[in-house]
């Protein structure tokens, strides 16, 4: 790779820096990184024979998925024994059999992610008994990163594939991992989402047209070259509302993320990923009809757990709306492939819900599969009735990839600037004020910022997808003290991205209007 091509720190524009010199460079590097990650993780699993792997969100999870789905570098480790760092404390202590546990993260610089995982484990078992069987595997370590013994005084040593990396080298590896994930079609978010596949029987434009029935649609390409579509449902559409009894009391379903992502998986095959995050009003809201039979008692174990389960329940409805639009377009448009309830993970091509075990460790997959099938059946019935009924169809919004990437970067700039302003404001009165984690903006706040550019909401929604897929933005769940609610927040992905954005803004200024 040409070093200058990805030197984003000074004169070379960051927006263009992510494009490698040639497609071949990108493919070769992605392959190499996949091979290295496979070798590293396989060896770690073989050496430590872990009962559980704790993956550090989000890239750790996405990498594991990309390897599990890879044919040439397939990693054989069951999803049921993988848990996301986000939900460690949501599961009972007996879930962890004691030892050994492997914590996996792709990169380490400041070490805050791994430190938080170790702190959580220490909190669960103050005697540090859990930690005795813990091993930390980090694929690439920056030269500033310590090797583990200093983390929380835990003495948990690290293994690594690369270490002592200078900042440019560290950045290059990060970029190539992201490229590998994009070429594999693996998203940063997809371990917490349902996924249903469809096979197109008519050309792609007909598919887009069908999706635009009572929704806004924007097609775009990921950097890996795959087709993506963002389908955004409007707040004021009475056809797309949630039954009152379904969600926890007081759940807010407007001004939130309420969309469907469609991603190309293969020849004429697409994944449908419904995404919905109602904000919840209290630390632990009441939920008369909580789906305990599907998710177990963790549903009401904490505000955060309730938030995630609510999101999945709401997403089932978003899935139904999307499938309904496809069925309404006629029988010959798509074949819907529902996830297989129980399947062999060695079949990397199969579509299942097994990956949800990472974010929902106690989920009953059979029960959930039935709910997905029910949503599909309802969509089929309702869609059939709608056939032939005239309806306003929104034509897909056409924005070039280059323009979308430019806007995505501008959005990231203003998000970072807004967060920096908040930090500066806090520090004016308390110079030692520690920046909490997470420290991000809600979807509503970001939509408000984007509105000042005059961009349609669906375009902004696609910008979220691009920024998340590019590893520029990460999502977290946070309790908003001012609004007193649990909500989804978005923040720049780590200090490296933040520093680049700040530097870029310092050199170029904020985009017009800010």
């Amino acid at each position: 790779m040409n070093e200058a091509a990805i030197d984003t720190t000074w004169l070379n524009p960051i927006i263009r820096s992510r494009a490698y010199e040639t497609r071949q460079d990108r493919v070769e590097l992605s392959q190499l990184r996949r091979q290295e990650l496979h070798a590293f993780l396989s060896q770690e699993i073989e050496t430590s024979t872990p009962d559980k792997i704790i993956v550090v969100e989000r890239r750790g999870t996405a990498i594991l998925r990309a390897l599990k789905e890879s044919e040439s570098y397939h990693l054989d480790f069951p999803w049921a024994n993988v848990i996301s760092s986000s939900v460690i404390e949501q599961v009972p202590g007996e879930f962890y059999p004691g030892m050994p546990i492997l914590i996996f993260d792709d990169m380490k610089k400041g070490g805050s992610h791994i430190r938080r995982v170790i702190e959580k484990l220490t909190k669960m078992d103050p005697t540090k008994g859990l930690l005795r069987g813990v091993r930390v595997a980090v694929f690439a370590m920056h030269e500033d990163a310590n090797s583990g013994s200093e983390d929380s005084g835990s003495g948990v040593a690290h293994t690594w594939f690369y270490r002592g990396l200078s900042t440019p080298a560290y950045r290059n590896i990060r970029l190539s991992i992201l490229s590998m994930l994009q070429s594999a079609g693996s998203l940063m978010l997809d371990t917490e989402h349902l996924e249903v596949r469809v096979r197109l029987k008519r050309p792609f434009p007909s598919f887009l047209e069908a999706l635009g029935r009572r929704a806004d649609v924007i097609p775009f390409h990921s950097l890996g070259g795959r087709r993506n579509v963002a389908v955004v449902f409007r707040d004021n559409d009475t056809a797309h509302t949630f039954p009152d009894h379904l969600l926890p009391l007081g759940a807010k379903t407007t001004d939130i993320v309420k969309k469907c992502r469609i991603i190309e998986r293969g020849q004429d095959e697409y994944s449908i990923i419904p995404i919905c995050y109602p904000s919840l009003p209290k630390k632990l809201p009441e939920w008369p009809k909580a789906p305990i039979e599907i998710f177990g008692n963790i549903v009401m174990s904490s505000g955060e757990a309730t938030f995630y389960v609510t999101a999945l329940v709401a997403a089932l409805h978003v899935l139904e709306w999307t499938l309904k639009a496809l069925y309404a377009a006629g029988e010959g448009l798509v074949d819907v492939i529902l996830p297989i309830p129980e399947f062999s993970e060695s079949d990397s091509k199969a579509c299942s819900l097994n990956h949800l075990k990472v974010m929902y460790p106690t989920v009953n997959l059979d029960g959930l599969s039935k709910l997905v099938a029910m949503a599909n059946k309802k969509a089929q019935e309702k869609g059939a009735k709608l056939r032939g009924h005239p309806v306003e169809v929104s034509p897909p919004i056409e924005v070039t990839s280059a323009e979308l990437r430019r806007r995505a970067w501008q959005l990231l700039q203003v998000v970072r600037a807004e967060l920096d302003q908040r930090i500066a404001e806090k520090r004016l009165f308390d110079a030692q004020w520690p920046v909490p984690h997470p420290f991000g903006l809600s979807a509503r706040e970001i939509f408000d910022l984007a509105e000042r550019f005059g961009w349609p909401r669906v375009v902004t929604s696609a910008l979220f997808d691009i920024l998340i897929d590019d590893g520029h933005l990460v999502t977290c769940v946070d309790f908003n003290l001012r609004e007193q609610c649990w909500e989804r927040v978005f923040e720049p992905d780590g200090e490296m991205v933040s520093e680049l954005v700040r530097l870029y803004t310092t050199q170029r200024g904020l985009p017009g209007g800010f």
Partner: protein, 421 residues
């Protein structure tokens, strides 16, 4: 400035060693040049009775000096216009990566960089600052310049104490041994004058392109016609959205002080006058930003436009600052203006109560300046307070048998304060 002062072009080696440091150093020099022009124009200005129509409409500070706050705002204006000049006359080369392939002659015709600073909210409005690495606090440019002057012995600017300005034997110089913090030494109301003695072309403009120099000279010539209040208004405001956010920020800060006052009232304690004073100050700032800055802004904006002759500098100025009507007629600004005026009256009222609670004698006769101020605030706030169901006579606030606020007034104050921000 001392004749043996350090070479201003080699200061702060740490930052000078990198490209960003060079840029920052040039920005400091440019801002001091603008300040120099402003001060010179002030000193040469005719007396008030002889003032020509082109002279500042507002009285300049003593001897044509400018305070640190106003200097901070002057820097905002310079950096904003500079940023827009860069967007129009340099950014495309950076974008294409062709900047290093230009001939020397071609380079002279462009503005090569934007000031490497960002506008960040500060205690006294927005100020240019360097963002810290990671989540560190920002470093304000005015603090950098002050540090260079006071601690490091690199006086781009000289700072003179506000209260002893006339009797001062000279500007304070670098005091490397001093362990005092910047805040202990310098006040935002202290005066600032240029610390660089020579502005001759060859020496001073070293490192600038012809285009950069030309626009800075033109901008300095325009800005020198502004009075301090105009500079403050122009540097504080930029767009409607930004002004709304500035006002909201003052209200948020006022809200913090308001909460402290409510806590005191709920605990049946005296309202601390320092909390009431801060509450009042934030409310005052909100009024300035929501309303009173409009007139000086309008005049400053027009003056700068009148004085600028180069079309591209004029355009850069217009791109960097919205017109007064675009700012103060933006969205909900008018409603917010009414709200903050009411808040300010209430804040005056609260401060007067806090003062009279601490100084019962002052309720009858105001013999000190502060007591007179308290009575003035009372008069300002009591008309509105009466509308809110609060007493308009001082004596009715305090119980006659106990020397404290009556329970009825206390409860009403809590209700009113809760609803005010």
């Amino acid at each position: 400035m001392d004749s043996d002062a350090v070479n201003p072009y080699e200061v702060y080696k740490g930052i000078y060693e990198c490209e960003l440091g060079k840029q920052l150093e040039r920005v400091f020099r440019a801002v001091v040049f603008v300040l120099h022009n402003w001060c010179q124009f002030g000193i040469l200005k005719p007396s008030i009775s002889q003032r020509s129509p082109r002279s500042p409409a507002y009285e300049k500070s003593d001897n044509g000096c400018i305070t640190l706050i106003e200097f901070d705002k002057l820097m905002n204006i310079v950096c904003r216009v500079w940023g827009k000049m860069f967007s129009a006359h340099g950014e495309k080369h950076l974008e294409k990566g062709t900047i290093n392939t230009l001939s020397d002659q071609e380079k002279q015709r462009i503005v090569r960089f934007k000031p490497p600073l960002d506008e960040i909210p500060g205690r006294h409005g927005p100020g240019e600052a360097r963002k810290g690495d990671s989540d560190d606090s920002p470093c304000y440019a005015v603090d950098m310049l002050t540090t260079l002057s006071v601690h490091e012995g690199y006086p781009y600017i000289d700072i003179k104490k506000n209260d002893d300005f006339r009797s001062s034997t000279g500007p304070r110089r670098a005091d490397r041994e001093s362990v005092k913090s910047l805040e202990e030494i310098v006040d935002h109301k202290d005066y600032v004058t240029p610390g660089i003695g020579t502005f001759e072309d060859e020496v001073f403009w070293k490192g600038f392109t012809t285009r950069e120099k030309d626009f800075l000279v033109e901008l300095a010539n325009a800005l020198k016609h502004l009075g301090p209040i105009e500079i403050r208004a122009l540097g504080t405001h930029r767009t409607g959205e930004q002004t709304l956010e500035e006002i909201r920020r003052e209200l948020r800060w006022a809200g913090v002080e308001r909460d402290k006052i409510i806590t005191c009232l709920e605990d049946k304690l005296k309202i601390r006058s320092e909390d009431a004073r801060k509450f009042q100050n934030f409310a005052r700032e909100a009024v300035l930003k929501a309303d009173e800055n409009r007139k000086p802004y309008e005049e400053a904006f027009q003056k700068v436009l009148d004085e600028l002759s180069s079309p591209d500098v004029k355009q850069a100025f217009k791109d960097s600052q919205k017109t007064a009507s675009e700012i103060w007629e933006y969205k909900s600004m008018k409603d917010l203006g009414k709200t903050v005026h009411m808040l300010y009256q209430l804040a005056d009222y609260i401060w007067a109560i806090a003062y009279f609670d601490e100084h019962p004698d002052a309720r009858k006769a105001q013999t000190t300046r502060k007591a007179q101020e308290a009575m003035h605030c009372w008069e300002n706030g009591s008309v509105y307070a009466k509308q809110l169901g609060l007493p308009d006579l001082v004596d009715k606030v305090f119980a006659t048998d106990r020397d404290c606020i009556t329970d009825k007034v206390r409860e009403r104050l809590i209700e009113v304060l809760r609803a005010c921000v």
